[in-house]
């Protein structure tokens, strides 16, 4: 069962930008792409823990600011020659508001 939490307005994140949501177990990065799609993934790069929310957003991917690993916002999978994955979280945009699913966020806390 889903339990959507209203996080912020869509416009609080720049186009091709990201901001973090703090949770008890670290930050979740919420991305807004050029086409106004919203994705949420774990903020921590599988390589050396770079903060993904600070990366450059292109298409539906983000490039980690520390050593340029490219991570898919849709799947959380590391692209290209590197391997790894980050957790992804369901998101919704309704009436210009961004919603995150509390159930999966809690599941993450439990994991």
């Amino acid at each position: 069962m889903s339990d959507w939490i209203d996080i912020a307005a869509l416009d609080d994140i720049a186009l091709r930008g990201a901001r973090v949501v703090k949770t008890a177990l670290g930050c979740v990065a919420v991305f807004r792409t050029a086409t106004d799609e919203v994705f949420a993934i774990d903020n921590t790069c599988p390589h050396k823990k770079g903060p993904l929310s600070e990366g450059i957003v292109h298409g539906n991917s983000v490039t980690c600011p520390l050593h340029n690993w490219v991570i898919s916002l849709e799947t959380g999978l590391v692209q290209g020659p590197d391997v790894g994955a980050v957790a992804t979280f369901p998101t919704r945009v309704e009436n210009g508001r961004i919603l995150l699913d509390a159930t999966t966020l809690r599941a993450r806390a439990a994991a």
Partner: protein
């Protein structure tokens, strides 16, 4: 009995009417010709050469007394017509009345006078007729200062003429660039540059508030309170049709006297011709359409069918050394495409505007030799899709099928110039190829072609292809990134030549395969666009690496470092105290003296950035850009202030340089050093730009580095004064900004273009000044503290979007 024709105004339009009429039927009319001016018709458009002294009045007379006499025309020159009585079919001049069967009004235009205080003072002149011209010549004989109000055709011709006669001339223009109705901004810029070379000063966006003076003009006051001294003011802000007589006579007048295609006014016995008429909402200000009208009027007066049609117009400016041409419509618009060609070295600019496979507009500057051909294409609406690729090169490259660029290059004569910067002709390149230089690098090495600005690289490759035939394989140069096949150099060239001013435009024009690029091309494009179009392009933070987006250096644990500027390495106790306070307040784990003569606060939390900056700002400190591809540090030594060997004020110069260059973005980081003597304690000779002070001046050298490569700088130039040193450094910085590949430091760029070329550019005073001007233009936007800006505008974005620590812990 002969009919009576009365003509009011002996100007360029009626002059033509009379010629046609007398040619066709000398017996048809008994003609009376009035003219307000005390002379007959002369070639008004040649007044400018008279003003500049290239011609005399006698040279430009078109109809002299003998001609009027031989044709039996009754001349009433120097006599204004004051009334038309349509009921009685009579016109009245100062010296009496004459009756007419047909009347022709050809009163031309009156100069527009801006209604400011002082407009009627002696010394304020308009520019319309010989009397005005003579008044200007007389004023110029006394020397002094002239202010020309209006940067259109007339104003500029007046300005150039007065400058030629030794006056100190300033042109005031209301709009952003000269001749904005005929020229686009690029051509306007080149025109301004050439006029400035002639000593004419130009002030754009200048709005005249008043003309000052007691008994004679003394000065012009602008809205922004600037006061310009003036012994002569020429008002050339525009013209309006001279319609007073027609109005009084009750003819239909809109802006001009309304006429039909036979040039007949609302009264069938009265015709009008020239600048005084309005036809289908058009007004006229150039002679070409007036000559067409003249033919129609003559035919109409002779009862023959004819109709006037409005045609495309072309403009040229009659100022020697300012070669320009413009025709048709060249506004940007949907469905319109531009083809642009520039040769910066020769000051040539060509822009063609295409719509629906036809040429609809053309602007040319610097080389207008093919203007007539282009004008023909516009007038005839010729379909150009076949020759599109080579169109911009002009008629010499057309004809013969198939029309491909290679054929065009093949058709070039041996003495055609390929590389404008280095003056290399096709023949030289072909000879080099035949002698064994079979690739671009070799041709460049042997002939220097394409070795400077590189815009002709494509042409040189085509010469290679044509000369080598099948032996030629186009080099596979490194594309910018996986999003495009083009190299950085190609893309930069496209941005300039096609005037691409946004990322979408670049991606469109350069065939990007991704929708919005990647982390590798976006920062590069962002830099290229803001460097080439500082006014038009707005910096895109989302296309910047995090350090430049958040104006702090990201650390391996995701915290940031904060480095305030210490101008030239000089600080104060107060600044040090503020840094110490900030370090304690934000629990900064490491405070370190950097290799760049300043202090680094390492390990600051992202959320704290706006507050720590605010504290540092309050103590007068600004961002040190320790994170940027831009100006980093200007390292100095103590110089003459304290050192017994110092030859110049190296600390002072370092501070001045840092204050003028800071905030500017560059292809890679830019570090400077200024040493007070050749002992070189500031390590200036391993910086991107190093200055070593000597007794006789300043040795400026470039291309040093002390990172992964350690390099010593090479001497660019030595100059005697500090002022010149600053100008040279700004110029070389701008040259680097305009030409280098993103992430090439100066030494890498220098290896590609050659130190000689760089030296030549900054040594040439005009080029140097133009570079400095462009640098300053950009700095008018970027010389600001990003910290203050972010605190004011987006401090919020440094905070988390939401805090769910409690929620998730439930």
């Amino acid at each position: 009995m002969k009919q009576k024709l009365v003509v009011i105004g002996a100007g360029m339009a009626s002059g033509r009417v009379l010629e046609h009429l007398l040619d066709a039927d000398p017996q048809a009319y008994d003609i009376t010709l009035f003219n307000g001016e005390a002379r007959g018709n002369y070639n008004r458009i040649m007044l400018s050469p008279v003003l500049s002294g290239d011609k005399t009045y006698a040279d430009i007379v078109t109809h002299d007394d003998d001609w009027y006499a031989a044709n039996g025309i009754t001349c009433r020159f120097g006599e204004h017509v004051v009334a038309i009585d349509r009921a009685a079919k009579k016109v009245t001049g100062k010296n009496g009345t004459v009756s007419y069967d047909k009347l022709l009004i050809a009163t031309g235009s009156a100069p527009f006078i801006i209604p400011v205080q002082g407009k009627d003072l002696p010394g304020v002149i308009t520019y319309r007729d010989l009397d005005d011209t003579n008044a200007m010549i007389a004023a110029a004989a006394k020397g002094g200062k002239a202010v020309v109000i209006g940067g259109g055709l007339l104003g500029l011709e007046a300005a150039a003429g007065l400058a030629e006669r030794g006056m100190d001339v300033t042109v005031l223009h209301l709009m952003g660039h000269l001749m904005e109705r005929q020229l686009d901004e690029s051509a306007g810029f080149l025109l301004r540059r050439d006029l400035e070379k002639k000593g004419v000063k130009v002030i754009c966006r200048a709005s005249t508030a008043a003309i000052l003076g007691e008994t004679h003009v003394e000065a012009v006051l602008l809205e922004d309170k600037t006061v310009l001294g003036a012994d002569l003011v020429v008002m050339a802000v525009g013209i309006r049709p001279e319609t007073r007589l027609a109005n009084d006579a009750g003819l239909t007048v809109a802006r001009g006297i309304e006429v039909n295609a036979q040039l007949q006014t609302s009264d069938p016995d009265i015709y009008a011709v020239g600048e005084c008429v309005e036809f289908n909402n058009y007004l006229f200000g150039l002679v070409a359409p007036l000559y067409d009208q003249a033919k129609v009027v003559a035919n109409s007066l002779l009862g023959q069918k004819d109709a006037f049609v409005v045609k495309e117009l072309a403009t040229k400016l009659k100022v020697t050394g300012c070669d320009l041409f413009s025709a048709g419509d060249f506004a940007e618009g949907e469905g319109r495409e531009d083809i642009v060609f520039r040769d910066p070295a020769r000051g040539v600019y060509r822009r063609l505007v295409i719509e629906d496979d036809a040429l609809i507009g053309a602007v040319m500057y610097g080389d207008t030799s093919d203007s007539n051909w282009f004008f023909g294409l516009i007038k005839d609406k010729t379909e150009i899709s076949e020759m599109r690729e080579t169109l911009i090169f002009g008629p010499a490259y057309q004809g013969g099928t198939p029309l491909d660029p290679l054929a065009a290059v093949a058709a070039l004569p041996r003495d055609a110039e390929i590389c404008g910067c280095n003056g290399v002709c096709k023949g030289t390149i072909v000879d080099a190829i035949n002698a064994g230089a079979t690739d671009l690098g070799a041709v460049r090495a042997v002939t220097k072609a394409s070795g400077s600005c590189g815009t002709c690289t494509g042409l040189v490759e085509q010469v290679l292809a044509v000369t080598l035939g099948d032996d030629f394989v186009l080099p596979t140069s490194q594309p910018m990134c996986k999003c495009t096949d083009m190299t950085h150099e190609d893309v930069r060239r496209m941005i300039k030549s096609q005037e691409l001013k946004s990322m979408p435009a670049v991606r469109q024009a350069c065939n990007w395969t991704t929708p919005d690029g990647c982390h590798s091309c976006r920062p590069a494009l962002n830099f290229y666009l803001l460097a080439d179009w500082p006014l038009e392009y707005a910096d895109d933070p989302q296309s910047r690496f995090i350090n430049e987006r958040k104006h702090a250096n990201i650390q391996k644990d995701g915290t940031f470092s904060v480095v305030p500027r210490m101008w030239g390495g000089i600080t104060t106790p107060a600044e040090l105290r503020a840094i110490a306070d900030a370090a304690e307040k934000y629990m900064v784990p490491t405070v370190k003296v950097t290799g760049g003569q300043r202090i680094d606060l390492l390990g600051v939390k992202g959320e704290d950035l706006p507050s720590i900056w605010a504290d540092l700002n309050a103590a007068g400190m600004v961002s040190g850009h320790a994170y940027s591809k831009g100006l980093r540090t200007v390292k100095t030594c103590v110089g003459t202030d304290h050192c017994r060997f110092g030859t110049q004020d190296s600390t002072g110069l370092g501070i001045k340089l840092e204050k003028t260059l800071w905030g500017s973005w560059t292809p890679h980081k830019l570090k400077l050093g200024v040493s007070g003597c050749p002992r070189n304690c500031a390590e200036a000779t391993c910086k991107d730009i190093g200055i070593v002070c000597v007794d006789s001046g300043y040795q400026i050298s470039i291309g040093g580095a002390a990172g992964m490569d350690v390099r010593e700088t090479e001497l660019l130039i030595q100059v005697p004064t500090e002022e010149e040193a600053i100008a040279v450094i700004k110029a070389v910085t701008q040259l680097y900004r305009e030409n280098a590949k993103y992430l090439d430091r100066i030494y890498k760029w220098m290896a590609k273009v050659g130190l000689d070329w760089i030296t030549a550019q900054v040594s040439d005073l005009e080029t140097r000044t133009a570079l400095v001007d462009r640098f300053e233009l950009s700095q008018s936007i970027y010389r600001t503290d990003p910290w203050a800006d972010h605190i004011a505008k987006n401090a919020e974005t440094y905070q988390p979007l939401a805090d769910l620590t409690l929620e998730a812990a439930e």
